[in-house]
Symmetry: C2
Subunit: 220 residues, 2 copies
Amino acid sequence: MLLTTSAEENYLKAIFKISEKEPGPVLTNALAAAMGTSAASATDMLKRLSDKQLVAYEKYRGVTLTPEGDRLATSLIRKHRLWEVFLVDKLGFAWDEVHDFAEQLEHVQGDNLTDRLDEYLNHPRFDPHGDPIPDAQGRWIRRPQVRLTTLTPGQKGIVTGVDDHTSPFLQYLDELGIALGVAIELLDRTAYDQSSKVRIAGKEYTLSEKASQNLFLRLE
Amino acid sequence: MLLTTSAEENYLKAIFKISEKEPGPVLTNALAAAMGTSAASATDMLKRLSDKQLVAYEKYRGVTLTPEGDRLATSLIRKHRLWEVFLVDKLGFAWDEVHDFAEQLEHVQGDNLTDRLDEYLNHPRFDPHGDPIPDAQGRWIRRPQVRLTTLTPGQKGIVTGVDDHTSPFLQYLDELGIALGVAIELLDRTAYDQSSKVRIAGKEYTLSEKASQNLFLRLE
DNA sequence: AAATATTTTTAGACTTGTCTAAAAATAAAT
DNA sequence: ATTTATTTTTAGACAAGTCTAAAAATATTT
Ligand SMILES: [Mn+2]
Ligand SMILES: [Mn+2]
Ligand SMILES: [Mn+2]
Ligand SMILES: [Mn+2]
């Protein structure tokens, strides 16, 4: 059992998340951008993570997670999302308030804490933003979901997640009455700016292309 | 609102706890011993804390908390003990398992987390070890309690706390059926080694002076 | 293929928090 | 009042994690 610092863990998570979106090795600049650090700092950290066998790193060629690095990153995401469920379901925080707490709580170390928390929360399978929570063995649930921008007028869907987790977007959704599980019907797409005319609970709204892009739906 | 590192917070807590036991300024060596660091490291940290106005530090003369330092230390103890209640009451950990988790959780920063946790736990006034939890305004509850070593044969008391929070002691108490709220009667004190003959739930046991010293009781 | 642009790494520096060893200040003992 | 012992501080070093600026490697254009 090797021990990792919070900084190392955050880099591992970032590598995992970039790998999810784009295939192939993660490049130094992409990692630095995701971490909000300089490319030089990312290079330093990649050497450290490579020494610890958590990543396979080749100079100038990018980095991938080793099985152990993947396991650790998955565990961090599990912890992050379980704590978010706790903060929303038990402490009554709104879905836009919990991310910064979870960023800290995911680094709490010690035997059994995660599994006890999971048990206490009744093994939730999705977090407050609709993201899947890997189980104790690191297994993921993948749901078929599409962006609102891919619907054709007349199609309906149920909100299953968001791609933008920032407060301004989540609060904007709150104002529109959009939450996980809410039904949305695409009425029309404006040719000029690709904005979406939608019906939510009987009322009509217009969502920008940017907002539509960040909404995931399960088709009805 | 100044921001503090975990290391700074741990030193503040240590200064607070030493001040509780012994009056007057806290000396460098005592602080270093409590923190498990060298005296040189303690001196370095005292300079940092002094720069941040969290302590009043005079070279060679020792250190005391400023009002702001006292407020911060109290808040840390509040957070530590509330998390311990959560871990025992909600997650089902034993009282000897929660300290290391709480040492990490007490450093989680952010608005309202502590008060929401306090609310969720129904404003507990004591932690799983019988220690008082300061309220949101930093007010303490002080209970009259005495060590088992101060009782005279024939006296009875209810266990209200422990002075040793380590696993070996707490697990030893578990084996004897000693927990918070349990009634203990002192039957006799052995002159030779000051051990205590006691009755707990009808059964008789012998407790060493060391163990007796670490048990707090409210007299019946 | 050579020149140019981009990406990545290296070099050197800074902060936090720690250490050991030596120096200085204070306290205790003769 | 000196000497001796103890406590505390300073000096110098190190690791983690960050930065900026310069050098090197790779990719793209011409
Ligand atoms: Mn989050
Ligand atoms: Mn989330
Ligand atoms: Mn504790
Ligand atoms: Mn406690």
